[in-house]
């Protein structure tokens, strides 16, 4: 038997007895960032493909909420900081080895771009809206003439935004549950899936709704594949990663993860989407909301479980 005791009473707040440096703010932001990335990706992609007429909701309507999502996300990131007045230090350095640094810079680009995108499309949803100043109309015209360029920027930066949220975690070798390169693609896929789910809700035409239902179904399939892959990788790895996997295979996170995230957040909405595609009447709000809530819970569970996984020595 091996027993390890910290006898001098180390009880550093937020570190002992178990790391809890990141509370709700980080997973909430990761969800919003992934969702924003998903929405912007589809909007930009279909503009580049020249399919503006086919996908009006994905291009014009859903992206209207992205500025709010990103501001909410930035707000929660700010709340997470313990030394808040120094937040501007993020923008006095570029550190390539720190995913958090490139995340900060990506947000610096994609947030204003999301505002521009919403501004040049808002009149399609709110036709009575008028800009208060003439120069705003000029600006709208100017940006509209560069719509394809903005679409390209959005596609590239949304992919970076979506994948970096996973890489942020996977770069932490100290937390075995996070330390897997599958996490980047998994978070990206989950972000795209939540974006597609929101498009399913906002789509008016059956064509567009069915298109995003098919996309979401495919993304759910990829997510399930990646989740199986992640656990296969853990179980074939070192003891610390086997222990990390056990948090979900009999450990405290087993029920929340497999029931709430995998079943209610992926399998059930996937089945409902299949029925919907077979023209069986399913209120689209149900599968889409399940996917969104599943995506949110997934971030929370993975953040907290990761903080409790550690090296033993």
């Amino acid at each position: 038997m091996r027993e390890e005791l910290i006898t001098s009473g180390r009880m550093n707040p937020l570190v002992d007895p178990q790391l809890h440096i990141w509370s709700w703010e980080i997973p909430f932001y990761l969800f919003l960032g992934g969702l924003a990335a998903g929405i912007l990706f589809f909007a930009g992609y279909y503009v580049i493909m020249g399919k503006e007429k086919e996908y009006p909701a994905a291009i014009e309507k859903t992206p209207l909420i992205v500025p709010f999502l990103l501001l909410l996300g930035l707000g929660s990131l700010f709340l997470d900081l313990n030394h808040k007045l120094f937040f501007w230090r993020l923008y006095t350095s570029i550190r390539l080895q720190s995913p958090m640094s490139w995340g900060a810079w990506v947000l610096m680009v994609i947030t204003p771009v999301s505002f521009i995108w919403a501004a040049i499309h808002i009149k399609k949803t709110f036709p009575k809206l008028k800009w208060p100043y003439a120069w705003m109309d000029e600006l709208e015209k100017f940006f509209t003439s560069y719509k394809k360029v903005i679409a390209w920027i959005m596609v590239i930066y949304s992919l970076i935004l979506g994948i970096y949220t996973g890489i942020l975690f996977s770069a932490f070798n100290a937390r075995p549950l996070w330390n897997t390169s599958i996490l980047g693609p998994l978070f990206l896929t989950s972000g795209l899936s939540t974006g597609a789910a929101l498009n399913i809700i906002t789509a008016k035409s059956e064509y567009e709704r069915h298109k995003f239902t098919r996309i979401d179904l495919m993304l759910i399939g990829i997510e399930l594949f990646l989740i199986i892959h992640i656990f296969m990788g853990f179980l074939a790895s070192t003891q610390v990663q086997i222990d990390a996997a056990r948090l979900f295979l009999g450990g405290p996170y087993t029920a929340p993860f497999w029931i709430l995230v995998v079943f209610f957040g992926m399998i059930l909405p996937g089945l409902l989407e299949i029925l919907e595609l077979r023209n069986i009447k399913i209120p689209v709000l149900i599968p889409a909301t399940l996917v969104l809530v599943g995506g949110l819970l997934f971030r929370f569970i993975w953040t907290f479980a990761g903080e409790s996984s550690r090296w033993l020595y």
């Binding site: 038997m1 091996r2 027993e3 390890e4 005791l5 910290i6 006898t7 001098s8 009473g9 180390r10 009880m11 550093n12 707040p13 937020l14 570190v15 002992d16 790391l19 440096i21 990141w22 997470d80 900081l81 313990n82 030394h83 808040k84 007045l85 120094f86 937040f87 230090r89 993020l90 006095t92 350095s93 550190r95 080895q97 720190s98 995913p99 958090m100 640094s101 995340g103 900060a104 770069a171 932490f172 070798n173 100290a174 937390r175 070192t238 903080e307 550690r310 090296w311 020595y313």
Partner: protein, 177 residues
């Protein structure tokens, strides 16, 4: 220059003087600590082995905390001291999550705090507070690049280990076993 510390687990009695010395020297807020004592009991009665370790930041050569810091507040000083510049730190907690030894903590003033190897003393030619205080003289500190420094000499003559070398951080706290 590469400062390192060696701690003799055979001599350490776990009195926690190093912990108190550090808290006093560095004005560590009440309820926090930069170093701590771990007792490991191994084996089955009556064949038991006890190891007592004074632990702190390992001032790693390949430090994940410095790598993941988004502002450059976590940095390595000449001599290998891994430090945090308070007015550059935003308190995001990435370095705390990145440390496999859980050696960092959020200071109540907001920035992240940790053992500094008492750089303010070492640059004046003094020993870190914990080493200077240790009543059993079980701690050795010095420059690994100097073959005659106390730490180089003791590492040459004694069997030693580091904590979780498999985490790949190249820790610079050596435990004599």
């Amino acid at each position: 220059m590469r400062y390192a510390m060696a701690i003799d687990t055979k001599k350490c009695v776990g009195c926690s003087d190093c912990v108190v010395a550090c808290q006093t020297e560095n004005n560590v807020p009440i309820g926090y600590c930069r170093d701590w004592i771990v007792e490991v009991v191994d084996g089955t009665y009556p064949q038991l082995e006890l190891e007592i370790r004074s632990e702190r930041c390992n001032h790693c050569d390949n430090s994940p905390c410095v790598r993941c810091c988004p502002t450059g507040a976590s940095h390595v000083e000449e001599g290998g001291f891994v430090l945090v510049t308070h007015n550059k730190c935003i308190g995001c907690g990435a370095c705390i999550a990145s440390c496999p030894y859980d050696a960092r903590y959020p200071h109540p003033d907001g920035y992240v705090d940790k053992c500094t190897f008492c750089m303010h003393r070492v640059t004046k030619g003094q020993l870190p507070a914990c080493v200077a205080t240790c009543p059993t003289k079980c701690m050795y500190f010095g420059d690994l690049d100097d073959p005659n420094s106390p730490v180089s000499l003791v590492l040459k003559n004694r069997k030693h280990k580091t904590l979780i070398p498999e985490a790949g951080t190249k820790p610079q706290l050596y435990y004599l076993i």
